[in-house]
Amino acid sequence: MSGELRKPFFVVAIVAIGLVVLVELGSTLLIGGGDASAALARQINDLGVSAPRASGEEPPGRGVPYLVLIDVILLYTVLLMGAALLLPDRLHGRVQGVTTLIGSIVLIIVAFIMGLIAFIELLIMVALATAAPFGTVVYLAIWGFFPRGDAAVVLSLLMFLKLAFCVFLVLAHQRFLQNKGLVLLVLTSLVCNIIVAFLHGLVPIILVSIVDDIAAIIFAILAIIWAIVLLIGSIPAVVKAVRVTVTQ
């Protein structure tokens, strides 16, 4: 299975990973939003407090949307490979260096801010959950009833698309398996999917939002690590592009 790149399979792989990113970006619309008032009323009753006007809503969580921080790198990487088919080699080299440099810096900043937001939210969640009973009721109303079923459906769809991406990428050209960076990135993405699914099932529903937030923080950290790797990797290409430009 050597030889030329099989473009149809490669295009399908790009579409699959593109869909992964779109589903993750739109996951806040797919997960949560349901009414949790009945479950909230039950828990409030157990806490021995009265809050007649309290109403609860299922939260969308941060774990699934934060997967996009990893998968956008994967999408960028395969798009860059696709660009090599369309652009001349010299231009492609320069574009790759500059866009990777800028993109990795943007990703570091975005992932840091998103990680910080998730961390602050985690502290607030824990503070509220343990401040019985007044804080606990508010925690339950905002974050207490994570829709595990919705999340499992979205995660299963994402896993299917990621596996399809892997299969079609290898069908497009087996040499992609020799690209260790790409293989590691794909494995990171798959493992992150498993981590968030595992964490959602690990604890009772009222605590799922907390572990989901922890997963989001882990994904932000992983994205920063990958962005730093990309940043370092782009420097030689940028230096080369600058040298070529200066000598011209």
Partner: protein, 154 residues
């Protein structure tokens, strides 16, 4: 089929198996859970994860209740006013020496009030966001009762 393809298939099968196990684990995770157990576990994993939330400082607390150091004296009923702060989440911890009703607005823009009937010796943590709050204390008509602001005894 060469070795690389075999390894790839093995890895993908392992990933699918792990994912299925991860999805299946939720069956044994204890269902909805019990909020009273979670909230009372102040020495547990949650408390260690987030640490104790910041206590409201005594100077941030005003209102029309009588104050003698950490003691809050309620004649019939009164309001403890917690001022605004840069901290997004704080708690007022109170211990009561008599039966009393405590009512406070839910923080974080939640549009409802929470009421708790406390018996003598009970402790309560009232969560207050950065905007402050008015905590209503009611120990009954013509009754006097005393609460202690915990974390400010010194």
């Amino acid at each position: 089929m060469d070795n690389k393809q075999k390894v790839l298939i093995a890895v993908l099968v392992a990933v699918v198996a792990l994912f299925v196990v991860a999805i299946a684990v939720r069956g044994g995770s204890g269902g909805e859970g019990d909020a009273s157990t979670v909230s009372s576990d102040r020495d547990g994993l949650l408390a260690r994860l987030g640490g104790d939330p910041a206590a409201v400082r005594p100077e941030e607390i005003g209102g029309d209740c009588g104050r003698q150091g950490p003691q809050v004296v309620v004649n019939g009923s009164c309001d403890l006013q917690v001022g605004p702060s840069e901290q997004r989440m704080r708690v007022v911890r109170l211990r009561t020496a008599a039966d009393i009703d405590v009512t406070a607005p839910a923080p974080e823009d939640a549009d409802f009030e929470i009421e708790k009937e406390l018996a003598a010796g009970d402790e309560v943590a009232v969560a207050v966001d950065s905007g402050g709050a008015s905590i209503e204390l009611d120990c009954g008509f013509n009754q006097q009762c005393t609460l202690t602001l915990l974390g400010s005894e010194t």
